[in-house]
């Protein structure tokens, strides 16, 4: 996807020069491999820092919440779905945005790749569908598909849903993928097995809240875990409080999550946080035929009422 960079710079330069937007939000190259940094350009000169490659997995919709003025934003499939969700939820107006759409072929999993090698990785280079990973005394070229983050590997909305201009040709959507394979596996467990599974999943949590803070859906002025008058949730490492945070946050994302994977990508402890949100995404799909962020004209199932709602959960 590196070929998008020049086109992104060209568009960003144009919309800034024409005064269509005051800033363009994108990524710049990070100081360590596989860690690009969200960044903004405000002038034609500063767009040169912008880059695009398979390390742009953070969700940029997180950076436009309640922003004033006109903003250019680079959006892959999932970012665009979260922009749609933001518009529906009145966090930004569609006409404030100039969306530079990026048809995406997936982002690579920096945690998985770091874990594959005992030694430190010094460079990771993308060339077409191949990734070359190099460190002191080793170099390995692998197919990008094998290295994708778990959400990208099962993504069926790679092309942006909503955009003003594209930075490249639309790509073919993935078919024959099962986004909910791991949910089905958990669903088939006994109650005890499920308990142990989630207990083990959450045991490394240090409550840094990176998952929440990287999530474009988590924009509450005060999160329930930060309520102090009265305090709702304990602040220690007590497993009950850790669980409460993760479960309530997941439910708050029900019908809104686009499975962008930002929560997992940012977790310093490598927790598979999507195990919670994916179950709710699956329920929304099965009960209401709903996937978040696909249309500006439809209300999400959990903030509307229809007489033919299935009500399966209450029977």
């Amino acid at each position: 996807m590196t070929e998008y960079t020049d086109k992104i710079k060209e568009i960003a330069k144009r919309v800034l020069t024409e005064g269509k937007v005051e800033m363009v939000i994108g990524f710049r190259e990070g100081s360590v491999p596989m860690m690009n940094q969200p960044h903004y350009a405000t002038s034609a000169e500063s767009v040169d820092e912008l880059v695009w490659d398979c390390n742009c997995g953070l969700n940029l919709a997180n950076y436009i919440t309640d922003k004033k003025g006109n903003i250019g934003i680079i959006a892959k499939g999932c970012d665009s779905r979260n922009i749609v969700t933001h518009v529906i939820e009145n966090k930004i107006k569609r006409d404030q945005l100039y969306i530079i759409g990026v048809p995406c072929t997936g982002m690579i999993d920096h945690q998985k790749i770091n874990a594959m090698f005992d030694q430190e990785i010094l460079t990771v280079e993308e060339s077409g569908d191949k990734i070359t990973i190099t460190g002191n005394g080793f170099s390995k070229t692998m197919s990008k598909q094998e290295l994708l983050t778990e959400n990208c590997a099962v993504c069926t909305h790679r092309n942006p849903i909503e955009y003003d201009e594209l930075a490249g040709d639309l790509v073919e959507e993935q078919k024959d993928v099962d986004p909910y394979a791991s949910v089905t596996k958990v669903e088939s467990m006994s109650a005890d097995e499920k308990w142990n599974y989630f207990e083990d999943l959450l045991s490394p949590c240090i409550r840094c809240y990176a998952c929440r803070n990287a999530c474009p859906l988590c924009y509450c002025p005060t999160c329930f875990v930060d309520e102090s008058r009265p305090q709702w949730v304990g602040k220690s490492q007590d497993p009950t409080d850790v669980r409460t945070f993760h479960l309530l946050r997941a439910y708050h994302c029900a019908g809104r999550c686009t499975d962008c994977g930002a929560c997992e990508r940012v977790c310093p402890m490598g927790i598979k946080i999507r195990e919670f949100t994916k179950k709710l995404n699956k329920d929304c799909l099965e009960l209401y035929g709903w996937e978040a962020g696909l249309s500006l004209d439809e209300r999400p199932p959990l903030d509307t009422f229809k007489t033919d709602d299935p009500d399966e959960f209450i029977k």
């Binding site: 990070g30 100081s31 360590v32 860690m35 690009n36 940094q37 969200p38 960044h39 903004y40 953070l58 997180n62 950076y63 945690q111 770091n114 874990a115 430190e120 010094l122 002191n136 490394p204 240090i206 409550r207 840094c208 809240y209 990176a210 929440r212 803070n213 990287a214 930060d226 102090s228 304990g234 602040k235 220690s236 490492q237 007590d238 990508r265 940012v266 977790c267 310093p268 402890m269 490598g270």
Partner: protein
Amino acid sequence: MKLIKIDQQSWAAGIEKVKSDYRVFGPVKEKNDHEFKLLEQNEMPDVNCQNTRLSPKSIIYPQSQVMFTYSLDESKDDCRIMKEVENVKSPMAIIGVRPCDALAFPIVRRNFDSPEYQDTYWIKAYEATTFVGLACNSACGTCFCTSAGTGPFGEEGLDVLMIADGDDLYAKSITAKGESFIQAAGWTTEAESAVDSKIDELKTAAESSINSSVATDKIKNKTILELYDAPFWEEEAFACINCGTCTYVCPTCWCFDVQDETHGKSGIRMRNWDSCMFPLFTHHASGHNPRNVKYERLRQRFMHKLKYYVDKYDNGIQCVGCGRCIRLCPVNIDIRKICYKMNSFDAESCVCEATSS
């Protein structure tokens, strides 16, 4: 100081032996990463671990720590009396502490054990612990210990420094505590004198493997307000999501929050790590928040480590160059870059530029 040679067999035997005198902690690989854990019987510290994901600070200063218990039962004499909880019962030893993490303990001690205040929980745990370090033979790309007051063979904060050479380990006791630990392990074989030059070679090679450095020399002479009002904070904070990762993985971040939790008629008073990245950290009871926006919180973290601490203690920076915050920051905020910006910032030229444009 004499150097002890430990071959593989006596290493394993020695570690098992000291477990009867100490609670022994060491790096263990769990899932994808190494963490310091209390070692069970026959469990060995992994000396091939480059460094653990989290620092060993939680062994001395746990993320959640009960300080007092109390009762709310009016029928009892001790109702509403805070009773101190005894946290440390036996000697501890932490094996495989890297020199960067070791230096963090004397840094943190300036906060927890000062002439005015002594934090009994931290001090008791610290004093009960023997720090057995392991020199680094090669550095990570994110290491900058040599410009943060130590080095790959740094000894400050350690009781023993071990050096790995192939399958052999060499141990040098630095304090009396370290001497006792080596005796308890039964390691007695003195190394041949020729080893000294070999160790010097390893040290030189290790130091030259560090390719990151930061300059902080000019920060001290700038005024607080000059840096505080510098124009780069907002731009540098743009990507920041204000999570607690940098502070929680940092070996020198020491802030905590005190909480009471009551269940029925009994309760505990505990402390939990807190983070200056969180809005709640400075949220006043009035509702006012003096650090209401994220760049102010990011600025606080770096100003504390690189300016306020430096001015207050006149003993270097509050950073040991372990590089964890660089490796684990989800959005690539890099302390080396912030250091550079702060150190090279020239308020006068900046004002001129702003006025002329």
